[in-house]
Symmetry: C2
Subunit: 281 residues, 2 copies
Amino acid sequence: MRNATNPMLKRLSALVSLTDGEIELLEGLTFEMRKVTAGEWLWHEGDSADSLLVISEGWGCSARYLSDGSRQLFATYLPGDILGIFELLSGIRRNDVSMLTDGRVCEYSYSSIFTLLNASNSVRSALFVIANQHQAMLAERLVSVARRNARESLAHFLCECRARLLEFLPDDVDGFQLPLSQQDLADALGMSTVHISRTFSALACQGLVRRQHFHIVILDPQRLAEMADFDDHYLNCDKRILTINKPISLPEPVATEWLASLKQDSKSRPSAEGDEPTASS
Amino acid sequence: MRNATNPMLKRLSALVSLTDGEIELLEGLTFEMRKVTAGEWLWHEGDSADSLLVISEGWGCSARYLSDGSRQLFATYLPGDILGIFELLSGIRRNDVSMLTDGRVCEYSYSSIFTLLNASNSVRSALFVIANQHQAMLAERLVSVARRNARESLAHFLCECRARLLEFLPDDVDGFQLPLSQQDLADALGMSTVHISRTFSALACQGLVRRQHFHIVILDPQRLAEMADFDDHYLNCDKRILTINKPISLPEPVATEWLASLKQDSKSRPSAEGDEPTASS
DNA sequence: CGTGATATTGATTCCACTCAATATGAGTGG
DNA sequence: CCACTCATATTGAGTGGAATCAATATCACG
């Protein structure tokens, strides 16, 4: 298994069960892996979009830069995360994305992704699920900013980071690198850097976390989650469900004539990819 | 034309160009239209999900209810909006959705939607675009709550409502029913009801809006948009793009008469605002 | 006309911001 | 190895925007 060499395959196979055919398809995907450095822009809002990106190493983030010079951070991206899903259709990047650390990213051209999407239900589902997770995290951030106080907000963010990292980190090393400066955290949580600092101190005082530099140790995950009202279901519930349900795949006696007629239609399509809905499998 | 009788077709055809086959397919969809009343729950977080809902009349909203009794409003749903897209795959409702006003909703079973999705690229694209728009609105809300002060925040929300309604409202009647109580607005914008009231007064003082009861008149849309740093591209850019690029969808000879008839139809829509809001008419 | 939901207004409080000074740490070059 | 610098973080003092509390006021509706 050379999953390790193809980040897309690695990520998707963790989300949905793939048929051998789909695995082959994914393995056959061409992609370009390149090194990126901290602070480097991956793209800007308004850029034309023609590729999907998978972070293979390092952290990235998406943000909005406001006219008053401030910044709102929307999402953080960890190794394995797939960026640019929503832009598949519009062809235009929706916000600025940059690297927080050095790392490596893999680029897959949209044309190859389209082929893949047309050929595989599971891949479509997986990408949809990922989009779903990002939406859920965004909603969670909104709740933090709007309804939680500084300590709850920061605690929640830390819990989320830990949960996301948990499947990658070896065993229970209760500590991880969080490559966000206090400025970054402030921009994510809608606070000032000063107050991030104070809030960290407060959490430390309560014996909840320890932090030095960019290294975080969560001393009492249980209590931290409680104070943050953190529930990780929004991060992984879909995954559980998916492996059980076999989602979008045709559960029906489909209107086969329709499919046939549509297939004909699709012949006139310019970017003649594989073909239509693949009732395969 | 019975577009009006099938809200799904109506909405999707406004987003992407559909082939005759797809239109027929959509027309053939079975759905159940039912009346709903203000305050009625459409579903709760955790409910199992097996249907897509299209709002045909009235306003709805999705929200999270926190353990401390407070509430965060995530989204408002207007006539034409499609709910439950993200739940297609997980089969579980992600948050609570209720009606803000009396209205009517159409229910489409997932099984029929799955058939449709498998048969049509365009429909897949359209639903994806809709999901995209909701994500964009959520992000915008986050920016409001995190970065904008009360006046900007409220102004932005009003601009957004106006923009969303604009395509439904007959020409430039610069006023509309906004069936959100100040409590609802507070829950949406992360403020207190008291401050919503004061902020409305402030905006009124500046000659930007007038408001009585649930009726809003935006006196100076231009200036209001400026103060809110409002840019409507996130609401409709995808639409524009889609008709140009026709990414995933089949680039067919567009049924222009269809679109035309739909436009007309929406203009002559009865009860464009006549009875609609008023919490419980 | 009374009742309950909704909205306004004033007084007070507080959480988090801003400003400003200092500290720590990493990286660089002498 | 030290001095310098730049980015990052800490701490204190003062301020302010919005929350809270509380007392009316207005409106819809039966």
